[in-house]
Symmetry: D2
Subunit: 435 residues, 4 copies
């Protein structure tokens, strides 16, 4: 494909975020501040990263926007859905992530963002209360109302394209059920039959987004777009989908650190990861049914990087354990503690401990920006269905497990996939191998 | 080049190690045990790593020995030089790195390795005492005696090739001096004139090795082979050289962790590294003049990975500090503590702390094996002079600073260089770019 | 009381330990080695500590044995009960706590210690399997057989006194039930009626010990001696009891570190404690019902040191969380990671993290020695019932909660209680106040 | 002494602080805010601590102010000396310790505090620059001018008593010199002779304070009041002095943690302490001559708590090392990392690591308040000379080393001394022994 075949990024880009909590407001406030020149969107690949295109003599290093047509920050308009009625300014203050000096200059713009009523089902998030919710009789009605929300937003803001991002809480675990989740027809029937325990509210958002020709991104560990029915719908609507679970603190480090061990051919006996976090995300995960969703998402990382079958002497017996603990004194300042038991020459053991004092929303915000801009790019480039090149941003990247395909979790391999995609869309050769 | 053009690894390979301390004895004992099937040489790339050769449909994953002709463990014979007269068995016990069960099965072989007298100058390592030393009047005499040692060893063991590795202490810092170190002629003259403050004993080992057509590897941070005169000699003798400073604990982690930060385009405000270690290496480094040599070696890592000029917003103001502390309670169990100050979205700060409870000799031993086998391979493949593909194993990789060339410190880029070289020597295409 | 009124420590002291696992064998091996002069019983107060007796001009510092009559190491004889039939030598090797050089010199003595059949009920420890168990029809039969074991041991070894210590696994949680645990009559009736869910096997050991006039010590977090019925029996038999849960790693640090915060009048917002451990103890605690017993024991520490009602500004809102994780790569080398959120001047927050790489059995072994010698002392001094002066050694010290009495958890206050008791028994004034 | 013999705290108390940096401004701002009810003076013993008075039946727990007559916050007036001319509001903002919401309510009061010209000698603090300095020809002139400053302040504010606290930078190390520092006569002569390398500027402040009948407190590690000449002067003027070096982060923890090890009779093989800090204090300490002063102060702690001669098996061979590193990314948020190598039963080693993310000024501020109020109390109670009961607040407490007296560094013993003194001054019995 040549770059000229990619539709240009003309007009406004609408970004509709499910959830107006710490992550969403940090993202929105940052974009508003950055486009006034009052903050730097650090951590956003689309704003900072430079990659090589061409080889040898042709080699040059370019920002993404100089390779592919990306929407600019000035062209973005925002909307949110939330169970709480507070506007984005109030929500930003409540979140206690940003300091007043980083919020006040865009107070008016934030106040204008009032959350739409959420499509919510308390059975999916017991610890969450809030009355800014739609009164829908069935899941299908949820879909209908969400589609109307998207159409209204598009009309009011006159934006040419919309992307929908889930940045709300983790729902309870919904495992793949081949009676309801395999085909699009099954899924639609289950929505109409209102099979509530099989159709999470998040699936209604995803369905509505695709039905309205918007890319959909799942930022929580919900299995929403991890089902063949949704893949079928994305193909049918020719829209990109990506998920799941924004790769922020501990898993980011794990997906980058495990490659160090693997590259040096050191052995790995165990990896114990514990997390303490105190924001609403932590509160929800304190509920075992919701934690399970997260645990499944976090556990997959290691085994696909340090592979038992390829190096049984080194990785044949890894004990991997992940714990998440709700701990209110920290609020949004999530903290990870990892203990890694490695072994070297003649089997002698050594230990590495990593203590990451991170900020959940600060790490997540640039991911939202990148995912919005890059899924919009994918849509304009005619790339639809599962976007594997966005695995870089995901704790548990989408992959077609029904045919035995494996996820790519190695941060550096994910980066190669991202670079290759940008090159390809930009009309260059996708010239790196993953090895 | 086709693989057929590489000379085969027939006959015995002699490995002569300068220093018979913790690192050397752990290496030797491990090789002896491994070839009896009693231990696993974990961490050695030549024994475990598999790399891709070919692309797309041709792609396959092979061990190094299936791509290039490597010497086998069974064909190795050992010798050492040391200022202490203890044989390798005694030295292994003294080092307290390995447990008796991992030493006793090869006790006889170890006892047979009695150290040759060392070429030593106490001014270069004040904290070291030992009387198993050569009585040389001049540096040139040192060279002569060392050459004789190599010839004797070769004759006695009937080995076909010899590699010389420095695994002895850090000498005091000898900065590049263009009056003595620029040309081979200058260097030889200085040796003959016995300019002791410009010619470290290690330079005599390196010179002697090259003069006897042996590759030379500098495993300490000494600047021995970091001078144009030595490069000239290696070119002249058509022999490989590599250095400097085995990449073991903290720098290994740093060279792998900094790429995570860089890849995610997070900002870096500071990196504080401290080390405690209690073996003889630590004792020597407790002397400020010797520590300086080490510090120069360790400081270079970060700045070539996170580059200020390419990403001034992210890396324009990094405060990097490295400390090494002699701390006897730990003996060989070196410990690193790194504090990394990063910043993300809108400049908000976060912290990462890495505590590495490592074992110096356990991490170093496989490097000696790889460096011996790969430099022998390079010699047989006709690759001479500085071996940049061995940067992977080095804390401060050799590079031609006289023409502004930069070292490659990023662990994953070093790995790409290593893989490309193995491919090339094996007759495959060196098909990866470093970006 | 004058020292002369304390019965002398003549004859042999029998120590019968329930459980012949890592803790017990480390204790026994250490005592056997120490009395041969081959090891030092470090950590044992009875062997090392010196305390002041007298005040002002009279002041002098003495070892315990110079104040009170203590049994000597040479006079100790051992027995164990265990569900596994391995003798103490085999169990010591299996535990992998001690190195061969610290075991072999007393191999014969260890081999002679063959475990008696255990009184066991798998419902109390699902993860434990073993067939060296008594076949008892009822709890009362268990008691009868255990009493016979004690009498046999006493006769065979001709020891003058016996102490029984529980160093076996944590049982599932048995909360105080006033219908079964309040009076001795109730307890005996429940044993006879074989009310298995109310009478843990450990209660049979405790009952049997007291019935045979032996002090009983509960080293696990089982509620065995935390019930009024058992207090009544101890009073009746005029025997000392103490419990519960040997204070080894994380709680030892917590009970010493919390006083630092309290003494400096700093505020405390939260304390998160996580543990990884891989021995059989960890395996048992991986079962939720058994973990609950432990959690109740560990959570009590903090709140009695930093009291909300006395300093509401400082300790009115502490979030305290304790987690234990089974993690096999570590075996006996338990590791604790504590995160402590404090606040100071004007409420500004600070953090302290404590990472304790400890060894469970190494920390526990001296406690067994001290508890055996000191409970034997108490018995000879006519001190019976709950021994509050032994709180120093316990994670969750016994106290009469039925009348609102609080446990003393502050390490330094516990130490004062210990010193005062030694002084008193030795005929000196108990001259320290706890404040 | 009965409480009635202590002069009451009538009238205003002037607190003159040398240095108007982070520590001083955090202290002053906090006091101003606290007396408006807008902040809590957490960490101040005089404001929060309760101690027992009386024993047994008479026992009661009282705040200090209910035992002894203390000055109240409302009666305090402030002055500072500094080399920089910024007023206290500007200095508070510059320090970046407190958030705007904790400063603005007292902005006017802070702005009114304009620093007096400092008595400064750049040779004592090379890294400090500033021109708000006195132009004195000799040390004696410094004294004269400082005395005049104190008199002026007293007159202007009409305060009845003044206390002088040093909260400025660490000067270079001035070891005790018996030719200049032994007698008061020597000291005065050296000042008059202007022997600059023997008379640090801080000595002029101390001398001036005493000469004007004000207590003097040394909060830095300077040896200012650690000389017999100054003790003689304090006795002569009947004024209290105390020092040295406010006990804030790492040493606070060390003086509390070492007692845990000692109390449990565990062995100690080594203690490695490293610090990173980025404020002006850190900058000054980056200069080796100034660091040496600090190191001497910090090293003394451990050995007086875990005593080699009393327990040679346990403490006979401790390797203690302290490092301080200037690291600007942290500013005032000092961080300590301690590695503690202990050993237990049979000599088996274990490790404890403590990572303290503290805030220097937040920990120091309450010490200034306590030291000001308690030294004023001591003066009114007729206690003069070295105040050992204030050791609790000091990293390196004053003690008469000329006669072999040892400092008390154990935090809990220091606390006992503090409590006994409060009791005594309050007319109660000093009823605790230190053991």
């Amino acid at each position: 494909m040549k770059q000229s075949e990619v539709a240009p990024a003309t007009g406004k880009l609408g970004i509709m975020v499910v959830g107006c909590g710490a992550v969403s407001t940090t993202f929105i406030t940052g974009v508003l501040m950055a486009r006034k020149g009052l903050a730097k969107p650090i951590g956003a690949m689309t704003q900072y990263d430079k990659i090589r295109v061409g080889k040898n003599a042709e080699k040059k290093y370019l920002h993404y926007k100089d390779i592919v047509p990306l929407a600019e920050l000035k062209d973005i308009v925002f909307a949110t859905w939330d169970v709480y009625p507070q506007n984005a300014y109030q929500a930003t203050i409540y979140a206690e992530v940003l300091q007043p000096k980083d919020i006040e200059p865009v107070r008016d713009e934030l106040e204008a963002i009032r959350p739409l009523k959420a499509a919510f089902d308390k059975n999916y998030a017991k610890r969450i209360d809030g009355d800014n919710v739609k009164t829908c009789l069935t899941r299908w009605e949820m879909v209908e109302e969400l589609r109307q929300d998207i159409r209204n937003f598009k009309q009011q803001t006159r934006c040419s394209r919309v992307v929908v991002l889930w940045a709300a809480s983790t729902e309870i675990y919904v495992p793949y059920n081949k009676q309801y989740h395999k085909t699009l027809a099954q899924l639609e029937q289950a929505m109409k039959d209102d099979v509530r325990e099989q159709i999470a509210p998040s699936m209604c958002y995803a369905y509505a987004a695709l039905a309205e020709s918007c890319p959909f991104i799942m930022g929580a560990p919900n299995t929403t777009v991890d089902i063949p029915a949704m893949w079928e719908f994305a193909e049918k609507m020719r829209m990109p989908i990506a998920g799941k679970d924004f790769k922020t603190g501990q898993t980011l480090v794990k997906s980058g650190f495990a490659p160090i061990i693997k590259t040096r051919n050191l052995g790995l006996a165990g990896w114990f990861s514990t997390n303490i976090l105190g924001n609403r995300d932590g509160l929800v995960l304190d509920e075992p049914a919701n934690f399970h969703t997260k645990e499944v998402s976090k556990l997959s990382t290691l085994e696909t990087i340090c592979k038992a079958d390829e190096q049984p002497d080194l990785y044949g017996d890894i004990y991997h354990k992940v714990r998440i603990n709700y701990y209110p004194p920290r609020n949004d300042n999530k903290e990870g503690w990892d203990n890694i038991d490695i072994f070297g020459w003649m089997g002698y053991p050594m230990q590495i401990k990593i203590n990451f004092l991170c900020r959940d929303s600060i790490l997540a915000a640039p991911l939202l920006l990148d995912l919005a801009l890059l899924s919009d790019l994918a849509a304009r480039a005619g790339r639809y269905g599962t976007q594997r090149f966005l695995s870089f941003f995901m704790k548990s990247p989408m992959h077609d497990y029904t045919c035995g395909e494996e996820a790519v979790n190695n941060l550096f391999e994910q980066y190669t996939m991202l670079k290759n995609a940008i090159r390809e869309i930009g009309g260059y050769e996708a010239d790196e191998e993953i090895d």
